[in-house]
């Protein structure tokens, strides 16, 4: 690579022109944005065609989260929004999502229309269903 080529391409205007073009051309992320990401694994074994379709339904504090989780051929779970990470368990991936996107998991105070205005500072304890916590590793969907 030559220096001259590089210097012209490095101008902020060049980079931003390229980026606006690239973002216009970017294909709509089926599934990713909608949280309906699907992994399809295919294999052939003794003349049989295997197809495994995996989708994740993840609830945190009872709320469905829109994270694009997938599973690769070796069974590792990855998530497009945490691009440098893979785990053997989807549970560990969700823990990392909670660390990586803390504001998306903030517990919103319950709307209390009939209460006095000052009550908005009060955060009621979140409702928890008495269900045993998932054991680590017990929820492998692969």
């Amino acid at each position: 690579m030559e220096t001259k080529k590089l210097a012209t391409g490095a101008a902020p205007r060049k980079l931003s022109d390229y980026l606006t073009r690239a973002r216009d051309k970017a294909p709509a992320h089926d599934g990713h944005g909608a949280g309906g990401a699907q992994s399809v694994r295919e294999d052939n074994y003794r003349g049989h065609a295997i197809e495994i379709v995996t989708t994740y339904k993840i609830l945190v504090d009872g709320r469905k989260i829109r994270a694009p989780l997938g599973v690769d051929d070796s069974g590792q779970v990855h998530c497009h929004s945490l691009p440098n990470y893979q785990t053997a368990s989807a549970v560990d991936m969700v823990r990392a999502l909670i660390d990586g996107f803390p504001e998306e998991f903030e517990r919103k105070p319950v709307r209390a229309q009939s209460r006095p205005a000052a009550s908005h500072k009060h955060r009621p304890a979140p409702v928890r269903k008495s269900r045993p916590a998932a054991k680590k590793g017990s929820k492998h969907e692969h």
Binding site: T3, Y18, T20, G35, N84
Partner: protein
């Protein structure tokens, strides 16, 4: 003449220049607004520094080919990982040279394996996280040159991030780091040596399961050939905070990590020659990763993996491994 890229911990002048350059690029308006990149919410000016954040997210969202089960994209999880980040770093370095008004400035690297050889509980206190270098951890980071200050609008702020779906969004907050939360310790020098001993740059199926140099340094597989968070990926995950996300260039340490990864690639080429696979015989499902395919960059057809193999005219490292 080629600039020299140096170890940030051994060159205080370069370190100070790097910090200054980042701050200048962060406060330089690119002339573009958030809506021009499809970022929802109130329209805001985008800094030159943040163009690199947008670029990284955009490249990551571009699957090659769309919907491939390996999750390969135009910058990660495949052979183009090293060339794409090399181009990104060269363009970033050019911008640093411009704002620093110093054509001899070379991007420094962080040799994280030196810290990885320390006991895990000491790694977060290493010199790289000092007040005179990158600052420490926190939400927000409150020490060092990128510390958050609510009252100072020119203090370092994260302005563009991604949401949980991986889409760009506007934010206005301090930098975040959380050492050792999702991973216990940094990679060690022995792990680096083992990666350098691999003789193939990449190999079928050209994905996160390939037992190749690219896959090892990117960090999808450990020394035992088992899926793991390793080398480059482990550095991201160990630092945590911004570094976990697709918008990880928000943390200035991103470029120091990648500069070290680029140094490892250069070290590998010094052993194995300036070679790259796959070639153009490879099928269309590897489009974007073959040797003469254009890299997703403003350089268009002028930047292909082949074009990135010899950068001796542009920069060199003070020390290879």
């Amino acid at each position: 003449m080629a600039v020299v890229r140096k170890n940030i911990l051994q060159n205080a002048d370069v370190r100070d220049q790097y910090i200054q350059g980042v701050q200048l690029l962060k406060n330089e308006a690119s002339g573009r607004k958030t809506n021009e990149f499809g970022i929802p919410g109130a329209v805001r000016s985008v800094s030159t520094y943040d163009l690199f954040v947008i670029w990284h997210v955009t490249a990551m969202m571009l699957e090659t080919p769309p919907g491939n089960p390996a999750g390969r994209n135009s910058a990660h999880r495949g052979p183009v990982f090293a060339p794409w980040h090399r181009v990104m770093l060269m363009l970033f370095e050019q911008n640093l040279q411009r704002v620093l008004n110093d054509a001899n400035f070379g991007l420094p690297y962080w040799d994280w394996a030196e810290d990885g050889d320390l006991p895990p509980q000491q790694q977060g206190d290493a010199a790289i996280w000092g007040d005179d270098c990158m600052g420490g951890q926190g939400n927000p980071v409150t020490t060092g040159p990128f510390a958050f200050s609510q009252s100072d609008p020119s203090a370092f702020r994260v302005r563009i991030s991604t949401n949980i779906s991986g889409e760009l969004r506007s934010v206005n907050r301090g930098l975040r780091r959380a050492f050792g939360v999702s991973a216990d310790a940094l990679p060690r020098t022995a792990h680096v040596a083992n990666a350098l001993a691999l003789s193939s740059y990449d190999s079928p199926d050209w994905d996160a399961d390939a037992n190749s140099f690219r896959n090892r340094i990117e960090g999808w597989m450990n020394d035992d050939g088992v899926s793991a968070t390793w080398l480059h990926n482990l550095v991201h995950v160990w630092v945590g905070g911004e570094m976990l996300l697709g918008s990880s260039p928000n943390d200035p340490v991103f470029f120091l990590n990648h500069c070290n990864i680029d140094r490892l690639w250069e070290s590998w080429m010094s052993r194995n020659g300036r070679v790259y696979v796959p070639d153009m015989e490879a099928g269309a499902d590897l489009k974007g990763h073959r040797i003469d395919d254009p890299i997703s960059s403003p350089l268009g057809r002028g930047a292909t993996p082949r074009e990135t193999l010899d950068v001796s005219e542009i920069y060199e490292y003070d020390a290879l491994l």
